[in-house]
Symmetry: C2
Subunit: 274 residues, 2 copies
């Protein structure tokens, strides 16, 4: 069986930068997981004493706080600044963009449609910068019964699918006079998506490696599944099952933006043995 890695996969710029920062800062706490990958979070805890808190209220005698890649809300940031603690910002620059856009356009009077999961920390953070009204949606139909204003801005969670983003933009174009479309889907996400789209069409089994709470990993998995029925999402090599590969000729492999190379390598080694 041939094993082929997608042309683009795994760690993005924002994640790489955040991990490098955390390793350098050491002995710190992050508010929520730094990235959506449990294995890597454990490694940072064990090797660099970077622990993960649930929320800002769990901070006690910590000296250093690291803001996670997905960012935090404007309110949490303000609260954090009032504490006696050093703040290190590891918010991905691609997540900062929709935060800044939301702040600017709502000052200019635009209401904002955010394409994303309302429970995702990135979206909670981005939304907190809207001072007018915001609508967090996953599908344009959610706006069917909403009375929209004449002008609106549209941003996206950085890890969403661009096709759906365009559908939402098209829907808005027919309903409001001005739509300011900010394509804030990050390039790494986009490239990883294109690569798995292509590879999964040529594979008879696909393994996507990444956190099950990772939005971009889930997108990769859905794209693969759409092209290749035998696609599987795993967090580490232990989850691999022998029977997945029986009679298969071509195994495609990809990984989410928060999946480190050391985990991907372990997965590939294990597949090779099978």
């Amino acid at each position: 069986m041939k094993i082929e890695l997608a042309k683009d996969y795994g760690f993005c710029f924002g994640v790489k930068q955040a991990i490098k920062k955390a390793e350098k800062i050491r002995d710190a706490a992050t508010i929520g997981p730094l990235i959506h990958n449990n294995e890597e979070i454990n490694r940072l805890n064990v090797n660099f004493n970077v622990k993960t808190l649930e929320n800002i209220h769990e901070l006690k005698d910590e000296k250093k706080a690291i803001i996670r890649t997905h960012g935090i809300t404007k309110q949490d940031l303000q609260e954090l600044k009032q504490k006696d603690i050093e703040i290190y910002d590891a918010t991905c620059p691609f997540v900062k963009k929709p935060q800044n856009i939301c702040e600017t356009v709502s000052k200019e009077g635009y209401e904002v449609v955010i394409f994303g999961d309302e429970n995702h920390p990135e979206v909670k953070g981005v939304k907190s910068y809207v001072s007018t009204k915001s609508y967090v949606i996953l599908d344009e139909k959610e706006l069917d019964n909403v009375k929209l204003p004449n002008k609106i801005a549209l941003v996206s969670q950085t890890t969403k699918k661009v096709q759906k983003f365009m559908q939402i933009a098209n829907y808005l174009m027919l309903r409001v006079k001005e739509v300011r479309v900010f394509n804030t889907i990050c390039d790494a996400t986009f490239k990883n998506q294109e690569a798995i789209e292509e590879l999964s069409k040529r594979s008879d089994v696909v393994i996507v490696v990444g956190g099950k709470n990772s939005s971009n990993t889930k997108q990769l998995f859905l794209i693969a599944k759409n092209n290749c029925e035998d696609s599987y999402l795993i967090e580490n090599e232990k989850e691999l099952k022998k029977e997945w590969f029986e009679g298969k000729k071509h195994c495609g492999v990809s990984a989410g933006a928060s999946t480190p190379d050391w985990i991907i390598n372990k997965v590939i080694e294990k597949i090779e043995k099978i």
Copy 2:
């Protein structure tokens, strides 16, 4: 044979308003045809002494100038204001919108993509209000080799097809960080298009009545032709041919936004006789 008029067709608000104005003003000259319908232009000339000039330089001893529904360029308007002549503005309010948008957004630093025919008077007028850079296109591919700036505004000639407009918007979304999409396609155009789309699917012959220089009429004709091979574009009843209707069971009829009812009625009477 059943003859069926499209649910929406013919005269739009801007055209109705302009004709009413011209009839009231009388003894005047328009810079270019007031609307794109030769029959109606002749009627205004014969009955109300409203004549049509080619351009602003043909003005001599006229006392009253009427600005056509499609608008004129900013430069022509300035020149006109310096002449000793009364100016009556019959620019369609839906055409004023993209003019105003172009003026505002280019002051804010946006370059502007205009979806339209560069030789159409409406587009020449709209374009003249852009003080940055403008790109007049009919297809997104025309931008393939253009280095676009980070932020861009998109407007449309009022009579274009909304599907293509969305295609262009989608293309831009993938290429630039911010696209301000102004859907300036007028509602009447949109409704007439939807109605002929629906009717032409159910017809075995379609007659579209309107000026052959009329952009919106041509769009209606193209939509009809796409659904019903035996579709014809005519300016008046004299162009109808007997053989078009031989063996046909269902004749759909529509008319452009600048086609007056009296012409449509004559066409229908003639078809009934055939």
